[in-house]
Amino acid sequence: SQKIEQNSEALNIQEGKTATLTCNYTNYSPAYLQWYRQDPGRGPVFLLLIRENEKEKRKERLKVTFDTTLKQSLFHITASQPADSATYLCALAGVNTGFQKLVFGTGTRLLVSP
């Protein structure tokens, strides 16, 4: 069966450290993978997109890697701040999902303490 898995347990880190979140998928052939941030009671906010032929993407303190062999994406936040505390969702789309349909993981809650 098709699955997208993210750590269901919250990730607690100290301010200034690097947070690393994991997204694993099975039985998908994504053309691209996206990461979103979601605050409680709000809609997801787009952060980064990485295509199947890209290994790494960066944007300010954010970095995403995409390994289609391992079927895994890693999302890094360097020099984390308490304001980074939120739930982070990965989403993929591609050939067997339909490009217009994003398939989301369940999200990982990140808590950054001062």
């Binding site: 009671g41 787009f46 994003l102 999200g107």
Partner: protein, 111 residues
């Protein structure tokens, strides 16, 4: 520029009733998608519309329907509401097959 706007932000309905949720996309975006997010889960795809045509449908019963208007705004209709329909309903607009811009959502509670 205004982002994606959804209305209402909250509503409470009784089992068996129907509900209409509304979405206005970002100006210039012709694609609108609807998602259902149950507490503790990621958003689940319901529909996508592009240029007033349905381009995708998720695994939801026929009680769920949607349409897109000439100005690209959209409505999501749910008939015969069940307790399990209680969720955050999200609308997203996009200009291409890349990032989606989400509204703040409509929190539907069915009692």
């Amino acid at each position: 520029d205004a982002g994606v706007t959804q209305s209402p932000t909250h509503l409470i309905k009784t089992r068996g009733q129907h509900v209409t949720l509304r979405c206005s996309p970002i100006s210039g975006h012709k694609s609108v998608s609807w998602y259902q997010q149950v507490l503790g889960q990621g958003p689940q795809f319901i529909f996508q519309y592009y240029e007033k045509e349905e381009r995708g449908r998720g695994n939801f019963p026929d009680r769920f329907s949607a349409r897109q208007f000439p100005n690209y705004s959209s409505e999501l209709n749910v008939n015969a509401l069940l307790l399990g329909d209680s969720a955050l309903y999200l609308c997203a607009s996009s200009a291409s097959y890349t990032e989606a811009f989400f509204g703040q959502g409509t929190r539907l509670t069915v009692v």
